[in-house]
Subunit: 361 residues, 2 copies
DNA sequence: AATAAAAGTGTGTGCGTACACACTTTTATA
DNA sequence: TATAAAAGTGTGTACGCACACACTTTTATT
């Protein structure tokens, strides 16, 4: 059953060397005769030795400074959840010598993003976690961090091929497909569908396009033909927002569903309610309070949850796994696409149970 | 920012005693003058001292033996997931001196359950984790464990008021409601609905009734009137199974949805497929392979996931939190009711990231 | 008042690892 | 071949805590 645990001392005994030498092999500290190194390594492998992380953490006073670059949740409440996740992970990892410094930027201000990214870089953290929502602006930083070998983890918005340690987030394309499925399930005959991108500049937000693509692909695979229209809306101009939305709603024949690709479905719900257009169903993203309000009222049918808190948590964990626990980490981590409706909402609002020592496994 | 970490030694210094005395206060080992005890306790509280769990685990060679009483997954593949979760938790907790012994019983054999429960009791574990699927048979054991102060955690099937440390599982009633919502969403006009309880003795399985109740309540709150019928089926008698199902399907006018309250939706799907009744939609439970097969074919529309692996994981964790880490634990832990459909399935099949050190927080 | 028992307190070692340092052996250089 | 440098190896201490044990002071008993 439970074979006894192997320690460095045991390995040293078997290899007829001192624990110090085994330690050098384990940590590649050099200064070990090749012959001996091989002998020890072999014993390590065969005994499937697993270091005692408790003892390791105790004995090492190394400090790790991580930095997180995230949007201000006071500007957009969506970002509160990742922040919470980051802080949770930070609390857990504190005893392992990890500290996380947050750099908060205004999600509507690219210059602010650049400024904070510069501050972050100047702080010379050992690991970086960020949501690269400004595509063009972030690229030089990624290159710089990559050159100076500072690992960084991206979340929320995927950017390929710039050397991130990993990406944490949802599969946007597939989430669009999922939205399609939900609409289709509730729709016996063909109809028209509206896709609304709200408050994001499309050219800087590839993930919104992927959602759209997923939805369109879903319906193109169906036998029936659905009419699909796309609009972009900007809530900073309420009049324009409402009139453009009204134009779309009035102009599209047999419009039955609206797919909002951002966390702003509540804006659409509010306007439809005002116009008493209750028979148009809405599917949106994210459990922000305003959305929940309309979920409860029934005007939003489903929300797709992107697990934002978990994204924050896992991102920091990913850095720690790599730097502190020296585990291999996965390049991408797609979180489940949770389907949320009134009946199962409450169980997603309770904080999830999460924790540190999977590396013990 | 990061105030320095308080150690026992620091407290001892402040209280002008030795670390040993502080240790006695922390662990109630007695032998401390009341005056001194109060002085030390005050300093502990004020300094919000948090013990270093790494050092604690290192320094203590205490061993904890847990026992898990679960059905045989070779008889019903549903039970593989909790077993996996248990083993994951066990692997993580190994370094904290925890071992978990499994007692496997045949889920269709109450006598076997009793036998294994007796074996378990005889092994005198320090904590017990079980799925009490045989209501009548389990009660005496619960009483016995309660009397001898052995904490036990129930999962999958809720039994109130017999002194469990906690219950881990889904909210059956609410999951029935959720099934109702999903059916209703895909149903523009009133129709008939069939509820099928498969392979469970109803009198011993209150959770199935709760699911039924939830579904019925959902529809009774709607304006339209839906006809709802219930049947019980037993797959060990395939002929009877098929004929009874056929009778129901033929006998109910305008039957459009079947709600299978167990993990056996695939049996219904198979039979409907054989009879080419593709327009009846099925909602069932659990991501067992046979169900996934029909989910992919489209004959099952949605599966509600009860997070069985997580149930196993959290159950063992709950015991550890209570016994090893001496944390307060919640009486009930309802897991999210995940809605699974073809488009988001894959993200629930990937193993979840879980881990040990939330207690560090 | 002498002595035993009990209550209270301090000291020291070990848990498994990291890491600095001292020491020994081999190799390179003159 | 002497000697310095480099390579290789062993020893010891610290990390924060648990816990056994030794020791000191107080209280109870005769």
């Amino acid at each position: 059953m439970d074979q006894k645990i192997i320690r460095i001392k045991d390995i040293a005994l078997k290899a007829k060397v001192s624990p110090g030498t085994v330690d050098r092999v384990i940590h590649n500290r050099g200064k070990v005769a090749e012959k001996v190194r091989i002998r020890i390594q072999k014993i390590i492998d065969e005994s499937n030795y697993e270091p005692n992380l408790m003892a390791r953490a105790l004995g090492s006073k190394k400090q790790y400074r991580f930095a997180a670059l995230i949007p201000d949740h006071q500007v957009d409440s969506y970002w509160l959840a990742p922040k919470t996740g980051i802080e949770k992970a930070a609390a857990e990892l504190k005893q392992f010598g990890v500290s996380v410094q947050q750099f908060i930027f205004n999600p509507y201000d690219a210059k602010d993003f650049v400024r904070k990214a510069e501050e972050l870089t100047a702080a010379r953290p050992e690991g970086i976690f960020l949501s690269p929502i400004f595509y063009h602006e972030v690229l030089p930083f990624l290159a710089q961090w990559h050159d100076s070998s500072v690992p960084f983890v991206l979340f929320n918005t995927e950017i390929s091929d710039h050397g991130p340690l990993s990406y944490i987030g949802q599969d946007s394309y597939q989430s669009g497909k999922l939205a399609g499925k939900l609409m289709h399930y509730g729709q016996s005959e063909p109809c028209s569908i509206l896709i609304a991108h709200i408050d994001e500049k499309i050219d800087n937000a590839a993930h919104l396009l992927k959602k759209e693509e997923g939805l369109r692909d879903y319906f193109s695979q169906q036998q029936d033909v659905f009419g699909i229209t796309t609009i972009e809306l900007d809530s900073s101009d309420p009049e324009g927002f409402n009139s453009r939305l009204a134009d779309a709603v009035n102009g599209i024949a047999d419009l039955r569903h609206i797919f909002v690709t951002t966390s702003k479905a509540h804006l659409v719900a509010a306007e439809l309610e005002r116009r008493q257009l209750g028979d148009i169903r809405i599917i949106g993203y994210d459990l922000v309070p305003a959305n929940l309000h309309y979920l409860e009222k029934g005007s939003i049918g489903f929300l797709i949850n992107q697990n934002p808190e978990r994204q924050g948590y896992l991102g920091i964990r990913q850095l720690a796994d790599f730097l502190v626990f020296r585990k291999a980490v996965s390049k991408t981590k797609f979180l489940p696409l949770d389907i949320i409706t009134l009946e199962n909402l409450r169980y997603y609002l309770e904080e999830d149970v999460m924790n540190v020592a999977e590396k013990l496994a």
